[in-house]
């Protein structure tokens, strides 16, 4: 599975920060809204004004416990600490976080491939403000000055720390993906990586063989997509191996993933590491969730991805192909399985519902999730009934997602998508057969490879208006 050189093993642990979908911030009543006008959701508390004091948001505690339960963590009495460091996006110049006693202790996460990754902790903390760099390239290096917006300051985060149990870049991606779908499923987070509501850091080290002691690790930051998690971990492991193979040593440091360059680069060495001077936050008191409260949250927890995968696959019985199992995993990972199950329950052919969702809807990004399910099912119904070709259906879907929903019939009409009637299809086929007598002869003799040839010709001649299934049916009919 691993693409590492023979004899090498990698050891990876991920730290995932996820913003919680609360109405308000962690310690004040300011709205927790992404994308509002700068500095409109601020108050003395989240601006760290002198004299202000934090008061913990009950909703954030509940969401944190949901995440903990979904990850099989020990939910325990906890308290807050201050993590002291100066940074302009940190209005108090300390972050309120959890240190020695996190709200969620050890747990685990099972991946679809059957492997298990340990969870060390999942603790509550506050987010920072957002800086915009002015001048230079717009990145922090070479900028002239920076502007700070504190709307995000104090937004609740849960930091989920995995054990050093991950052994390949692919597994790292799989862990991040499964965790993301669990976070979404729990209702605690929206898991939007491109908006920064879920952020991943990776601790990567390598060693010679699976029994050797762990090597020196580097922490990789700025992993903004599942793809970059996999690429960065792969790159970093190979980088470390190359150094060690050359007789060099790895220095412990924090590195930045440059997605465009496909490289990690030094951000900060261990010598420059911070001394955070953690100490108990005197402005807050401990959180001691009662057993009854925990059990109530547990009872209300929605089904998790593993269960949903089982339920989805059950619709296919034993007949599910490997490709379909992969599609089912992908759909659940992206939290799109309700679209499939909803469509199947409305009588859509299961294979169509699965394929269209896992292949097309999944490719349309986070916006796909906001598409009204009924609009989607209406579209699949048209395709299933042969009123739209697959090509047309995909085009309508893209438009629907971009518009956030709509009537698929109206969209199809506005694009001029009318199903080729049977007469027109017959006429087109007659012309194509006449123009390609040799191929037709071979096809009639049973050369099925030519199905694609004729279908392609028909699609080209009709500019995609023909329905692939109808063409196949017509071809088979003429052969028999």
């Amino acid at each position: 599975m691993s693409s590492l050189p023979e004899g090498w093993d990698m050891v990876v642990g991920l730290e995932v920060h996820t913003e919680l979908k609360t109405a308000t911030k962690l310690f004040c009543g300011c709205a927790n809204n992404f994308g509002d006008e700068p500095n409109t959701n601020i108050c003395p508390v989240c601006l760290g004004l002198p004299g202000s004091l934090p008061v913990l948001n009950e909703g954030a505690v509940e969401f944190a416990i949901r995440i903990g339960l979904a990850l099989h963590c020990v939910v325990q009495p906890s308290s807050f600490h201050r993590k002291n460091y100066f940074y302009p996006d940190q209005p108090k110049d300390y972050q309120i976080s959890q240190y020695d006693v996190p709200i969620n202790g050890p747990g685990y996460l099972d991946l679809p491939d059957g492997s298990r990754v340990g969870i060390e902790r999942a603790h509550l903390e506050e987010d920072t403000g957002k800086t915009t760099h002015v001048g230079g390239t717009g990145r922090i290096h070479g900028s002239d000055e920076s502007l700070v917006d504190y709307n995000r300051s104090g937004v609740p985060l849960v930091e989920i720390v995995s054990g050093p149990d991950i052994r390949s870049a692919e597994q790292a991606r799989g862990y991040a993906a499964e965790l993301r779908s669990i976070l979404i499923a729990s209702g605690a987070s929206d898991g939007r990586m491109e908006e920064g509501s879920m952020r991943v850091d990776a601790n990567v080290s390598v060693r010679r063989g699976t029994e050797a002691p762990f090597g020196t690790r580097c922490e990789i930051k700025n992993l903004n997509s599942l793809r970059s998690v996999q690429r960065a971990v792969e790159y970093e492991a190979l980088r470390q191996i190359a150094i060690l193979d050359d007789g060099g040593t790895i220095s412990q440091e924090t590195r930045h993933w440059d997605e465009d360059a496909g490289k990690t680069q030094t951000m900060r060495s261990k010598e420059e590491a911070y001394d955070y001077r953690y100490f108990p936050e005197p402005d807050l008191v401990p959180v001691v969730p009662s057993e009854a409260f925990i059990r109530q949250i547990e009872a209300e927890l929605p089904p998790m991805p593993a269960q949903r995968r089982r339920e989805l696959i059950a619709h296919f019985g034993d007949a599910a192909t490997d490709a379909q199992l992969d599609q089912a995993n992908a759909a659940v990972e992206l939290n799109l399985d309700p679209f499939i199950v909803g469509a199947i329950e409305k009588g859509i052919t299961p294979a169509l519902a699965l394929a269209r969702t896992a292949n097309e809807l999944a490719g349309l990004g986070d916006d796909a999730m906001s598409l009204p399910k009924d609009d989607y099912i209406a579209l699949l119904k048209m395709e299933d009934a042969g009123e739209l070709s697959a090509t047309q259906s995909k085009k309508v879907l893209a438009d629907l997602v971009a518009a956030g929903g709509g009537d698929p019939k109206a969209v199809a009409e506005s694009k001029g998508f009318e199903q080729l009637d049977a007469g027109a299809l017959d006429a087109t086929l007659d012309e194509i057969i006449a123009a390609n007598p040799d191929e037709w002869a071979r096809y009639r003799e049973g050369d099925d490879k030519l199905t694609g040839f004729f279908t392609g010709k028909v699609m080209a001649a009709t500019q995609g208006q023909a329905d692939g299934k109808a063409v196949n049916a017509a071809l088979r009919q003429r052969r028999s």
């Binding site: 008061v55 002291n84 700070v148 001077r277 100490f279 807050l284």
Partner: protein, 463 residues
């Protein structure tokens, strides 16, 4: 007041006139809100004329320590780094006194960020003791104590982290109360050491202090460390006396004190005894550890609380080429020496490798002190001792020697570490004719008994 016998405007004017005549010499204030107070006084008089209830303290002038946030009014903590800062919100205690009809006449001088015991650490110059202007008024709430002692205002508010209300109250001959931790909201009190800070009243009499504490006490949902307890009934119990009360005369709050101080506190014990209290001599050796523990815990919390003064969001900025240099230049220019000392001390106590030996160990000592108090309060109801080792010292005396300055808090600090209430009530004068404060201490939420005993001492002080 609500009866309309005295007008609020007259009381405001009286206060302002006294300030005009005394302030040049005393320097109790960093800001006087002349127009605002007259406007508020007029509004109260209008309300009273219409038969409205304008609050239990309607028309009473009050001086506010400069570390309590007041919406739109300068709140600087007597520091250059916050000079001119106008908070966009009110502290909870400010809202409460405003609702009670109090007239805020201005912000009082203090040691910068409440760090000090003499009010000499103010960026705006020292306050003088109204009883002898060559002496300090104590600190850090020196301006609030002096304002009441000089009859500029009948009431004032201060904050007490290690004695910053009781010590200046003792030096200036007024009543000063440090309530149970959590009884009064800290929301809007600019933090020095969050686990120790508490807002409390100064007044010329025990009854006035009780009335003010009743107004400011009580649960506040904006302060997570606010006790979910109703404000104690104090005024209605002031004359209940001390009959049957067991009062411990505490050895550790007397030893090391000047002879005139010890003699005065023993007289105070006699007054309580004559009023029917049982006086029990008691020793609590753990209290001696308080000073060291305090000067690790308070600076540690302060080093974190004062990190936010970085020149980014409010206050004064000193420009520099990058943000780290700007933070450094701003803080270097904006903080005075005592604040820098404590920030560095606290940073050191929390830093890697020293946490266990200093901060961690101080927290354990805190446990020892709490346990020792708990044990003592199983055999006595209250404790009696000196508020300060000596009467007010001369201005300039201890400025160069921080450790000797810190020693002047030795009798007041243990209470803060335990989160208990204590008060200082004037009890005679020393050989130098300067006021002496008797300190009464009690377990958490024993304010009612403390005020009863204080009332007895107040009446017996001159007998």
């Amino acid at each position: 007041m609500n009866a309309g016998e005295v007008s609020a405007v007259a009381l405001a004017n009286e206060s302002l006139q006294q300030i005009d005549s005394q302030e040049g010499e005393i320097h109790a204030f960093v800001e006087i809100q002349r127009e605002q107070v007259l406007r508020k006084a007029q509004a109260i008089d209008d309300g009273v004329a219409q038969g409205k209830n304008m609050g239990v303290l309607a028309g009473v002038p009050l001086a506010l320590k400069d570390n309590l946030c007041q919406h739109g009014e300068v709140t600087s903590c007597a520091s250059n780094i916050l000079s001119g800062w106008r908070p966009p919100y009110d502290a909870t205690v400010v809202s409460r006194i405003e609702t009670a009809g109090v007239l805020i006449v201005g912000k009082t001088n203090m040691d910068e960020f409440a760090m000090g015991s003499s009010t000499e650490n103010s960026a705006f110059g020292p306050t003088k003791n109204p009883h002898d202007t060559t002496k300090v008024p104590g600190g850090s709430s020196g301006g609030s104590a002096a304002a009441v002692a000089a009859s500029m205002t009948p009431l004032s508010l201060g904050s007490d982290t290690g004695g910053s209300i009781r010590q200046p109250a003792a030096f200036c001959g007024v009543v000063g109360v440090k309530p149970t931790y959590g009884l009064v909201s800290r929301y809007g009190l600019v933090a020095f050491a969050s686990s120790l800070d508490q807002v409390g009243p100064f007044a010329g009499s025990v009854a006035d202090a009780a009335a003010l504490l009743e107004v400011i006490a009580g649960h506040d949902p904006k302060d997570s460390t606010s006790l979910n307890a109703p404000a104690p009934a104090l005024s209605s119990h002031l004359d209940d006396g001390v009959k049957g009360m067991r009062v411990g005369l505490c050895n550790e709050l007397l030893e090391g004190c000047a002879p005139d101080m010890v003699a005065a506190i023993k007289r105070a014990a006699e007054v309580l005894s004559n009023a029917g209290a049982e006086i029990i001599e008691i020793s609590i050796p753990e209290l001696k550890l308080g000073l060291s523990a305090y000067y690790l815990i308070a600076p540690a919390e302060a080093s974190s609380n004062l990190a936010r003064y970085d020149g980014v969001r409010y206050g004064v900025r000193v420009d520099a080429e990058d943000v780290t240099a700007m933070n450094t230049a701003t803080r270097t220019a904006g903080f005075g020496d005592e604040v820098k000392r404590r920030i560095m001390l606290g940073t050191y106590a929390l830093s890697a490798g020293y946490y266990d030996a200093y901060y961690g160990q101080a927290q354990r000592v805190r446990t020892l002190i709490i346990n020792a108090f708990t044990k003592a309060y199983s055999s006595v109801d209250l404790l009696l001792g000196a508020t300060t080792p000596t009467t007010a010292f001369a201005i300039g005396d201890k400025v160069g020697d921080p450790m000797s300055m810190y020693q002047s808090d030795i009798c007041t600090i243990p209470t803060n570490l335990a989160g208990h209430p204590a008060l200082s009530v004037p009890f005679g004068v020393g050989d130098d004719k300067m006021p002496i404060g008797a300190q009464l201490l009690g377990p958490a939420l024993s304010e009612q008994q403390l005020f009863q005993a204080a009332s007895v001492l107040e009446h017996g002080a001159n007998s």
